[in-house]
């Protein structure tokens, strides 16, 4: 782990397929391609936002990156260590470095454990601290997430949703992780409480130098917290770029539709803006369409989109998109859309983002 610019997490060609068994003999008849070949890098201290609608595979991707699920194919490197094929026993030793905050604070806390026991559990599992040291650490963590120390002996049901999410965050931070996957940490909370939790996550990131993978369907919140954003659709990353670029000039038709569908709290703008309403529903990931995954709902679909799966291209520095509209090889002879000054360039590997893959150490 030499230079600071090296990615902390680096994912290549990640696939997670869930088999479908059917018939009398429960034979394997197909697979739900929840995550179907995604790749990204996360640099130390940054927040990568992973957005998409329900069923696009973003949560599966988040869990797979921490190996809470077994991956079908691909490589996952965390701090230079390849973990995609690592047995769970060995992974245990790495767990303190990478943690997760779950979506539902109600379901992810054991109702029969006190707050102290919940936050202490990772310490019991992974450290040899004395009882007094653990108690001290738990109190420290409760301070860090702005929970009253006096509540340590209470049970989760006595807390509100926002407070429960703080307990979940304290537990995730107990072992001083470097990398935290936040899977929709604010989706279950009220608006006024969402802001509290997001501010807390930002403060902790700054203080502890955390790196986040922030999974969410809320684009306005992702714009607030993420430094770079990846947009997923049906198991693929269709677009990835820095926050400013993505929100100012979205490249993929899906990102554009997604952004136009966000309801801004501004009645004047709401009356005048043009909303791109996508027709139909997301196809089943067990049976994705031929060609581009998005071709069944894309307002700009061309004949080629129903035949050929688009490659992921870097069309500007750090701006990745998987769409034929941005591929000069496809668009030659067709009226092109304006993008960056010099237009897109093709790179060798469709999923090698930002930094070249590093060899195993």
């Amino acid at each position: 782990m030499a230079d600071a610019s090296a990615p902390l997490v680096s994912v290549r060609d990640l696939k997670v397929h869930f088999p479908i068994h059917a018939g009398l003999l429960r034979r394997r008849v197909g697979a739900v391609k929840a995550v179907d070949g995604i790749g990204f890098d996360i640099r130390p201290g940054e927040t990568l936002g992973l957005v998409g609608e329900s069923g696009c595979g973003k949560s599966t991707a988040g869990r797979a990156v921490l190996r809470l699920l077994d991956v079908t194919e691909g490589s996952i490197r965390v701090e230079g260590t390849e973990i995609a094929r690592m047995p769970q026993g060995e992974l245990r030793r790495l767990r303190p470095r990478m943690q997760m905050v779950f979506q539902d604070p109600q379901a992810s806390l054991d109702p029969r454990m006190t707050v102290e026991a919940i936050i202490r559990e990772p310490l019991d599992e992974h450290t040899r601290l004395t009882r007094a040291e653990k108690r001290e650490r738990v109190a420290e963590l409760m301070d860090a997430v702005v929970l009253n120390r006096g509540f340590a002996t209470r049970f989760p049901h006595a807390f509100s949703g926002g407070q429960r999410q703080r307990i979940g965050i304290a537990r995730a931070l107990a072992l001083n992780p470097r990398f935290v996957v936040c899977d929709e940490p604010i989706a279950a909370l009220d608006v006024s409480i969402q802001a509290q939790v997001v501010n807390l996550l930002e403060d902790l990131q700054e203080r502890l130098g955390l790196t986040y993978l922030f999974i969410s369907h809320d684009l306005s919140m992702v714009r607030h917290i993420a430094t770079r954003v990846a947009v997923m659709y049906l198991g693929r990353i269709v677009e990835m770029q820095a926050r400013e670029g993505l929100f100012a000039e979205p490249l993929h038709p899906y990102t554009r539709a997604l952004l136009s569908a966000v309801n801004e709290p501004d009645p004047v703008a709401a009356r005048t803006r043009r909303r791109i309403v996508l027709k139909g529903d997301v196809p089943s990931p067990a049976n994705p369409p031929r060609g581009c995954n998005f071709c069944t709902r894309c307002p700009d679909a061309m004949p080629v989109c129903r035949e050929v799966d688009p490659a992921t291209l870097e069309v500007g520095p750090g701006r990745w998109v998987a769409c034929h509209l941005h591929d000069p090889a496809v668009m030659r002879g067709q009226p092109t859309r304006p993008f960056g000054a010099e237009g897109p360039t093709r790179r060798a590997s469709p999923t090698a983002y930002d930094t070249p893959a590093r060899s195993a150490t």
Partner: protein, 347 residues
């Protein structure tokens, strides 16, 4: 309603609620969920109701239709005027004729509000046969029309499908089709898009706007999403602690909010366009759980402007503009001395 408004309401209200109160009497104590809510909905208008969970917005709507089990719920106050009747005084038979007939209801969760063991067609036909006395064949034809109206392709064939064969967005469309079946005068929609993805939500909002125009019904739309409200509502009620704290036409509410809670709520939401704020505004603290009827401002503990009166009295709804009122002492013209300007709130 502000008194002495120069012009009478241009369109008479379809549904008028006055001083509605709901108390849940439980073994652990009383919970005062709705504390004197008054509002009116006019024909063809969309009234948005916003508030956090626990602010009493859903309970208000369920109370006025008698949908809450009693005990523990105890609904009082009123009247709730609808088509010349007081719904709170109506007997169960009368209420049943109103619910699903003259007043439609769309619930929040499309996954659990359809019965999994009946076909979708059966569930759309049910109100048609019960309320309009249609025969089986006629009801089926109408059900297919309704399903097509809410934008489900191949509607006729899909009548025989079961709810699990529909996606979330389609199930919510089915719920809307059921609510619309008898062409209600008022549609009450309780967070109809909250469980849905943004692109599906956009489809439903588009559909609602179109149906409202075509059928001319009044809609009460409950949500906690200010973005949705900005896009579809004509007027808005902001609820907090089981009370209406602000009521205004939608433009006025967003341009000139007069209750500190509304102001705070508007600043907590990040945006996808325009300037990106460095840090999100936060309303410190938690919404209250009221064990008694409030005798002081329910927002006082989280309010940056709270002063002595706020701890002693519960503010009434002071008129602050046309069709605009706010329940905050800062808007009380009779209260001169300790009156910090509301403008300071903005950070």
């Amino acid at each position: 309603m502000p008194e002495g408004a120069p012009s009478a309401l241009p369109i008479p209200p379809v549904l008028e609620v006055r001083d509605l109160r709901t108390v849940f009497r439980t073994r652990a104590g009383d919970v005062h969920a709705v504390n004197g809510v008054s509002f009116a909905v006019r024909e063809g208008e969309l009234l948005g109701v916003v508030g956090e969970s626990g602010s009493g917005k859903s309970v208000t709507m369920m109370s006025l239709l008698g949908l809450l089990p009693s005990p523990p719920a105890e609904v009082s106050g009123g009247p709730v005027r609808f088509e010349g009747k007081d719904l709170l005084q109506a007997g169960p038979e009368e209420l049943r004729a109103v619910r699903g007939g003259r007043i439609g209801f769309v619930f929040q969760d499309p996954m659990t509000s359809l019965n999994p063991v009946f076909t979708v067609g059966f569930q759309i036909m049910e109100p048609l046969r019960k309320h309009l006395g249609m025969g089986k064949r006629q009801a089926r034809a109408r059900a297919a029309e309704l399903l097509a109206l809410v934008g489900i392709p191949d509607a006729g064939r899909r009548l025989d499908d079961y709810p699990h064969q529909f996606s979330g967005g389609m199930r919510q469309r089915v719920m809307i089709a059921i609510a619309l079946a008898c062409e209600p005068r008022v549609l009450i929609a309780d967070e109809p898009t909250t469980a849905l993805d943004v692109t599906i939500q956009a489809q439903i909002l588009e559909l609602m706007a179109e149906l409202r125009q075509r059928l001319g019904m009044a809609v009460v739309w409950i949500t906690h999403d200010l973005g949705v409200i900005a896009g579809i509502a004509d007027r808005v009620l902001v609820m907090y602690g089981g009370q209406v704290v602000e009521h205004a036409p939608v433009e006025a509410l967003f341009a000139n909010p007069r209750h500190p809670y509304t102001r705070a709520l508007l600043t907590t939401v990040p945006r996808v366009r325009g300037e990106r704020v460095k840090r999100l505004h936060v309303i410190e603290g938690q919404p209250p759980i009221l064990e008694a009827h409030p005798d002081a401002c329910t927002f006082r503990d989280r309010c940056p402007h709270a002063f002595d009166v706020c701890h002693r009295l519960n503010p009434q709804r002071y008129p602050v503009g046309e069709d605009h009122d706010a329940a905050c002492f800062l808007n009380d013209p009779g209260l001169a001395p300790p009156r910090p300007s509301l403008e300071v709130v903005h950070g």
